[in-house]
Amino acid sequence: MNNNLPVPAVISTIRPLTVDTSLFTLYTEPFCPVAASFLPGQFLELSLPGVGEIPLSYCGFPSQDGRIELCVRHVGHVTTPLKVAAPGDAVGVRGPFGRGFPLSAYGGQDLLLIAGGLGIAPLRSLLLALMNRRELWGRLTLLYGARETGALLFLDELLELQKRGEVELQMSVDHQEHCLDGPPCCRIALLPALLDQLELDPGRIFAAICGPPVVYPLLVSRLQRMGLSDENIHLSLERRMKCGVGRCGHCAVGTRLCCVDGPVFSFAELAGIEGSLV
């Protein structure tokens, strides 16, 4: 397979999630590795013909029938034109790229998923993978913070998982709009504050984190204080991953490349590296 050549895909559905964020479902050829063989936390490169190509995290579950789910915030030079895309439009996909969350290492362990804002996209992919074999993992906790209640994504799915007792869910919003009641288990706080009342067994827990860079230092220092080792704190980094194959030179973190060695790193790999947790 040629990693430089996008394979054709077609937009199947577009589900608006908030005013600026949509869930795209694409279909490519059945058994296409771009759709069929990825780990949560890995990414693909999405091409919009005539516009350009961008890295996006997988948001769904690997599929043999070519189905790919992508959660897109319409803020960039490719994602803004995607706002007016329609089902049936042609796009291209390359991937999967990078290193995802090490699912095999999580076997039999407790997992603490921490998502900030759009960081829920790759963690939804992780959550779907965990739910697929729920019996393999111990206690699952999801902490999820967003700007406001209206910006909480995949709320129905998350509340359903909580209702079924599969996942312990705690959410926070920075501020609450006047006219909306918050969902249950959501309070007004900054994301790291959700860790305050959490009781964990630091000996058997991994933390999988994806959120805006600004929260990483706070989350990491609190998790360290709670007794988690640096090897067990996994962070997904965002960088400008232009080519996806380690050649364009944009995404180095220290001497590692985010697109090949990441985007998921353990904190042990990032500690002391300038600019790793901006």
Binding site: P213, R240, C243, G246, R247, G249, L257, E274, G275
Partner: protein, 330 residues
């Protein structure tokens, strides 16, 4: 020991012979006084006295701007068919040969870059020995990079001692063997001795960001990126897509990018991961002296001196590199 010797007066006939099988390029001084790699016009000689060209030979392998994909509604994205022809690059100094060796490691790995492969396969490398000037630092740092060549011309009294380094080199020698003579010549020390004489290094600790030198260098740096453009081992590229006027076709191009530019680390939404010039400076430093990704542990500075020669602010990373990397001086 007997060597293959070619006298100076036989160089012109040799070039005529080489030109029969391929386009012949080498360092040529233009009317503007700038020495650049370009086609050597028939009847003229390359400027072998010049210490360095303005741009390194990477431009033959990675064009400043090149189409990497074509899109049509009917066919989707397709690789362009690259029209390549044989080129003999004559007059490469060991640093430039080592620079090409570095690019080979990046672009010819397990998943080779198709355009690079096409261009590299038609390029024959002919090296020539040289003497370093005040900007050069190849003689200060040993390097794991190898100055590989097809043919190498070592400058000696009255001519050159010619060595072949590959089957391609043997073929070229065969074409010109009547111009060569076997002669016992005292060959000067191999000008490539600094290359291939160090192992790739294990991970080193992060460069100390608190050193005042960073701030001092960054405060004088104009951020023009000239050092990176003329560096034989800077290969960063940006990727852009242009829609055709018919609105049904597009071409995707990659073009040289520059880690000293603010936009280099910028992502959608305007967030940039290297806001200040000193951070960008260290990013470049890490790549040049520590390497990253496929080149991790391989310093990519080949000591050609171009960055120092062209820097409008007269910046020189050498003292800092010697202090931080240390221990490699011959």
């Amino acid at each position: 020991m007997a060597t293959q010797f070619i006298a100076n007066h036989n160089l012109a006939p040799l070039l005529v012979r080489l030109r029969q099988s391929a386009e012949l390029h080498g360092p040529v001084r233009g009317d503007d006084g700038v020495v650049r790699f370009a086609a050597i016009a028939p009847g003229t000689l390359p400027d072998l006295s010049a210490v360095r060209t303005l741009l390194p030979p990477k431009k033959y392998l990675l064009h400043p701007q090149e189409t990497i994909l074509k899109y049509t509604v009917r066919a989707g994205y397709q690789m362009p068919v690259e029209d390549v022809h044989q080129i003999i690059l004559f007059g490469l100094h060991p640093c430039d040969l080592a620079g090409i060796n570095y690019l080979d490691r990046i672009f010819l790995d397990d998943e080779p870059d198709p355009l690079y492969v096409a261009r590299r396969s038609v390029l024959a490398l002919v090296g020539v020995s040289c003497s370093p000037d005040e900007f050069c630092s190849c003689h200060q740092l040993t390097s794991p990079l190898k100055a590989l060549f097809d043919l190498f011309f070592n400058v000696v009294e009255g001519g050159f001692v010619v060595t072949s380094g590959s089957a391609r080199g043997d073929e070229l020698l065969e074409k010109v063997k009547d111009l060569l003579e076997e002669r016992v010549v005292a060959v000067p020390e191999d000008a490539r001795r600094f290359f291939g004489h160090a192992a790739a290094e294990a991970t080193r600790p992060e460069p100390d960001a608190t050193l005042p030198e960073w701030r001092e260098l960054a405060s004088r740096c104009l951020g023009c990126g000239a050092c990176s453009i003329c560096c034989p081992t800077c290969y960063c590229f940006d990727v852009l897509e242009f829609c055709g006027l018919d609105n049904c076709s597009a071409s995707r191009v990659r073009q040289w990018d520059n880690c000293l530019f603010k936009g280099h680390a910028e992502v959608a939404g305007g967030m940039t991961f290297r806001k200040d010039k000193a951070e960008r400076f260290r990013y470049r430093y890490r790549h040049k002296y520590r390497g990253f990704g496929l080149s991790q542990g391989i310093p990519s500075c080949v000591g050609c001196g171009r960055c120092r020669a062209v820097c409008p602010a007269g910046l020189d990373l050498r003292p800092l590199a010697e202090r931080l990397e240390g221990g490699q001086r011959e």
